[in-house]
Point group: C2
Chain length 338, copies 2
């Protein structure tokens, strides 16, 4: 049985963000599984996706799971605006709520690097892996700290979002919240009122994340839902309702700004990657299309690309079906065996 | 040069809707091109899509165009809730605005049939063709009046919407309007305020109707737009802003309810079709997926299916690019030559 661990907080002190603001008493939440060996070379970093937390993808960790804590020291870091690390919902004035300064994926990676080097004195990572926005962090890690990362796995992700994904982030994540009458520039006083916006966000996600065939084939039946509407309510609305609207909008804007070249030469930035690179894409994932992911892999030396079939599209990330779970497990095992 | 014609109104009198309500002094808008020949056998019926009008697809009509008014009498009928026919925005109390009764695709087809038989004494149609919601009407025509229709062409459509399309209609068309603070159950008094909902509707449509590759390849450049945002504003927002929110919501609900079997046996309903049937689908059109359209064709005797490639997806309907226009022209010519 895996040991029970809890969310920890790493104190970053006064953290200088790339936007130029200083975040006083900045905090990075994280969780670990397993133990760092004496050589300090058995660490895996596993950042999370948009609207996730350090606990979102623990299903991959366990003695009978692809990430075995008897062998690896697995670090699940948070991100700014994730709700547990410094975020709009937990930061005092002047940076509270709608006044929280813009953060970037690069800020998250710099904070995570400090955790790894200052707290754990880790100099080498066996693997950085991530789905979706976790993959954006993975690329940023491999570009920014190329000598520290032995392998990366980008799963349904990219170095930066595609034009369509920019449109999706604005339309599905931000607008149902920022156009809500209770939004008030992020200084809402009635969180209950904003729930209708979070529900609509869920509807947009339900519509765009699985493939069309997921609904045609009624795959939700195998997940225990009575109807498509039941699935939309109990899965999609339920997922977003507990989350803070400012945190979500800030995460979306951060994702839109993701760029490991910092508006420079992306090919040159990707050329700096030394890690053995695995790029996985899901058939029918509009967010990170297989053909676009394949092009990413071609710009990285020592990279392999593979497309994963199925009808779950971007939703495959969650390993909801038995098939998705098996495919995902196999991917992670294969990367670690390489 | 094609003659200039104008929108006409056919008076339906007190029209009994299938929902059980009677619409007093009901009106059906329509437009015609060309002349009915003495045998009254050269008519083509060309209904329009959601948010369209009898003038939306006149680009296909002309002496050098696929639908030649020298040869055919082309009738472009409206639909209830289309804004020119009886609709929430033009009907007096008690059926004004949010109190307009539910109408069905079948009501539209029954009204169109009355126009054709009572006004023009047409007993045979060479062709009924339609894109999207125009295609829903096309199927309803072929099932309801099988002896009257020689050919049908369903282009990016289906007999009834798929589960995903039901989700799309609710999420993209209805919710940005019905969740708007100015909505007031359809009895809005500030139409200007509702513009933000219409703009968000446009963003959802921009995100879902073209393929992802349309944005990756920046196809909007060839259409004269300076950026993706310029395209989203000047094309997508501009398309929806002039439309009445109640009309749109009513059209969306009508589309969701479309079913030529009236909740009965759809295969049996499609089995009644006698028309030579052409089913065209666009690659990457999530609304009417090629694989689903192919199944529709297999359920109809004497039906042909063809998938049309490209990156415009459902947007191919508008023939915006030169390539889309050529493909669409060819389809219509081929159907008429058969």
């Amino acid at each position: 049985m895996t040991e029970q661990t809890s969310i920890e907080i790493f104190e970053l002190g006064d953290f200088r963000l790339l936007s130029g603001f200083t975040l006083p008493n900045a905090k990075l939440a994280y969780k670990t599984h397993g133990s760092l060996n004496t050589a300090r070379d058995n660490a895996i970093l596993f950042p999370h996706f948009l609207a996730g937390s350090p606990e979102s993808l623990e299903m991959y960790i366990g003695e009978d799971r692809p990430l075995d804590p008897r062998k690896y020291f697995i670090i699940l870091p948070g991100i700014f605006c994730g709700g547990l690390s410094s975020s709009p919902n937990n930061t005092p004035a002047p940076f509270n709520a709608g006044a929280f300064p813009a953060t970037l994926i690069a800020d998250d990676v710099i904070a995570q690097h400090r955790l790894l080097t200052e707290k754990f004195r880790i100099e080498e990572l066996q693997l950085v892996l991530g789905w979706s926005v976790g993959g954006l962090q993975t690329y940023e890690w491999a570009v920014r700290f190329p000598d520290m990362v032995k392998r990366i796995a980008s799963i349904a992700s990219a170095p930066k979002p595609s034009p369509w994904t920019l449109l999706w982030l604005r339309t599905v994540i931000e607008e149902p919240l920022t156009s809500h009458p209770a939004w008030n520039n992020g200084f809402y006083t009635d969180l209950q009122a904003l729930q209708s916006g979070l529900r609509r966000l869920g509807h947009g996600a339900a519509m765009t994340l699985p493939q069309v065939g997921f609904y045609r084939d009624e795959v939700w039946r195998s997940l225990g839902f009575a109807s498509m509407d039941d699935f939309v309510s109990r899965f999609w609305e339920a997922f977003w309702l507990p989350l803070d609207p400012n945190n979500l909008v800030a995460q979306s804007r951060k994702t839109r700004a993701a760029d490991p070249s910092d508006s420079g030469d992306l090919a040159a930035a990707l050329g700096r990657i030394k890690a053995k690179t695995f790029v996985f894409a899901f058939t029918g994932d509009r967010m990170f299309q297989p053909e676009e992911c394949k092009l990413d892999a071609q710009r990285i030396s020592n990279a392999q690309f593979r497309e994963i079939g199925g009808v779950s599209g971007h939703l495959t990330t969650f390993s909801l079906t038995q098939r998705d779970r098996e495919v995902m497990d196999e991917i992670v095992r294969e990367v670690l065996a390489s």
